[in-house]
Symmetry: C2
Subunit: 358 residues, 2 copies
């Protein structure tokens, strides 16, 4: 069991050892470990060694010159200079927020970046400014569009964070596939089958074997199959890809650079690095803040009080499970799986650090 | 069989008889009949009598004063003055486009409106301006969130239209449920069962009886059940509801006013009428137009050439099926079901019009 501070400090020191400036290492570790707090364990410190390997492969620039390469009053394209997405993300979201302060909304499309952790971390940055935050990113191609045998899209998550008044904020954060890759990895570790509708094999046939994705199979878009609306999940994943990568000049579709360093980047990449898309909308660019927040409170209370199906306690509002975990783990600490702990110990050895130090 | 022009002129004359000014009747009929052209038959002239009944119930104002009630350089809230959504929609989209011309993007949240036809009609209005168009709307509560027995949301569609170069545009347009209500109606007419994952009965249990939705059951969010990601469809429907209605001051969630005139509006509505949300993003607010369009062409061609599962011809790009139908129906005409034809004949009698006139 580790405290949040232990893990964050450790990640921060690893990023510093990679050559990140102090302030950027701080930003990155905050974004990374928010995943461990919120229960998205696959995207937290479990990925730290992956970032290190990408840096060793010279695919991550630890001291990037992140800059706006084109802009209008409400938009910008940011070049991440091959930096950590964990740093490029918060800096780009800040640009979106600054634009929203001036003209009501701000929209930033980002190229030449890397994996940015959980989408929800970035969208939530807007909340304290009384803004709605939006974030999305393209990702390693693992998903087959409806009727495709080929993997053409990433799990391309979308997050939307909306402030409320007395109630906690509404925070949606989800992969545009039936199940996120992290859930698949859990079943792989347990050697258990997946439900039908999560994956297909290399011929594009339905499968319940979680290892098929490693054998040329694919994750399926939200919906699972055509009859259950997989073309809609495919639409969502495509929109994320186009907003994040085609709009910014990043690499898109099947050419999105893979997160794992042992897979080479495509030789014919049509753009630079991974892409993200961020939005910030000032609440009072639409409506009086108090009025909006009071209506959000009504919305949330009404949904939570909806009558439930037998066996369930209450209808959840997006963000509830993650917030509850965050509060718990801030108090009781974060438990790591043995392979993750081993991974971090190796990093500690490599860089001469102590994992359990505060 | 009717020509597009016959149906559009008929709808236009019906709207004029309701008291719509000529230019608004023209706008509305164009938006309405685009659904018949694009194969979304449930949202076209089949709904004309529904709009007439809402007008008779004094819930549609045929000559509305549609105006901006609050704005910033990139945003506006529009009061639809209880007008036809088919008119309020294009007028609001125009405001979004004008704002995008000036500051890069434009975002318009609309209150006090009515059903706006197909979402795709509105988003596509941005394409000729070399902009990405976005449209969404809340709708009559028919959908149960994950674990809820109650119907709390509409089928709340999202459309995103993205210009390409030599290729036709990318047009996603989908309900945030497993299946749209129109598909359910088809099975009801044929007295056939639905697949599992489309609906639940009044106890919130899975059902395949398409009539259950009329007996207190509900449509299910995209995903179908928790194991297949229905919480993600629930997130999407909620985001549409909040952007369209909470942000504008329209009525939201279970209080969204029903389309059918025989259902009363809730006595305790927290806002005014139905809500929509529109966005326009200028391509060149992000990237050189030609560069973007050439990358979109590459994107589209790569997806269409992905290897397919056995029995399928090719991977489709969002918008393909609707565009193909539109081209066909423009040439060969539009076939109406007998009940729809009867409905229109009744309207012709009521208003002293001729259905088949050009």
């Amino acid at each position: 069991m580790y405290t949040y501070t232990q893990l964050r400090n450790f990640a921060c020191r690893v990023f510093t050892k990679m050559g990140c400036p102090e302030d950027q290492a701080e930003l990155a570790s905050r974004a990374l470990v928010s995943a461990d707090l919120r229960g998205v364990d696959s995207h937290g410190v479990a990925r730290l060694s992956g970032y290190v390997r990408l840096w060793e492969a010279k695919r991550i620039n630890p001291n990037p010159d992140i800059k706006i390469v084109h802009e209008t009053p409400s938009t910008a394209v940011v070049d991440g200079d091959a930096g950590l997405g964990l740093v490029v993300g918060p800096k780009s979201m800040k640009i979106a927020v600054e634009k929203a302060k001036k003209v009501g909304t701000g929209w930033v499309s980002v190229k030449n970046s890397n994996h940015f952790g959980i989408a929800g971390y970035h969208s939530m940055l807007a909340i304290k400014h009384d803004m709605i935050g939006i974030s999305m990113t393209n990702a390693s191609p693992l998903v087959a569009p409806t009727w495709s045998r080929e993997r053409m899209l990433g799990t391309n998550p979308i997050s939307v964070a909306i402030p409320a008044g007395k109630e906690p904020p509404f925070v949606a954060d989800f992969a545009t596939t039936t199940a996120a890759n992290g859930k698949l990895e859990i079943l792989q570790r347990k050697n258990k089958n997946t439900p039908l509708g999560w994956i297909q094999d290399s011929d594009g046939q339905p499968s319940t074997n979680p290892f098929e994705v490693k054998n040329g199979g694919a994750l399926l878009p939200l919906g699972g199959d055509r009859e259950h609306g997989s073309h809609k999940g495919y639409c969502l994943g495509s929109i994320v890809d186009i907003f994040s990568a085609v709009l910014s000049g990043a690499s898109y579709g099947p050419w999105a650079p893979p997160f794992v360093s042992f897979l080479p980047v495509a030789p014919d990449m049509p753009g630079e690095g991974l892409g993200h898309f961020f939005g910030a909308m000032r609440i009072d660019a639409f409506q009086a803040k108090d009025q909006f927040k009071s209506n959000m409170d009504t919305w949330i209370k009404r949904f939570k009080s909806a009558s439930v199906v037998e066996g369930q306690e209450e209808v959840l509002v997006p963000g509830d499970p993650e917030r509850i975990l965050e509060q718990e783990r801030m108090k009781t600490g974060i438990k790591l799986l043995k392979p993750v702990e081993d991974d971090l110990s190796e990093l500690a050895d490599k860089f001469g650090l102590c994992l359990s130090a505060n």
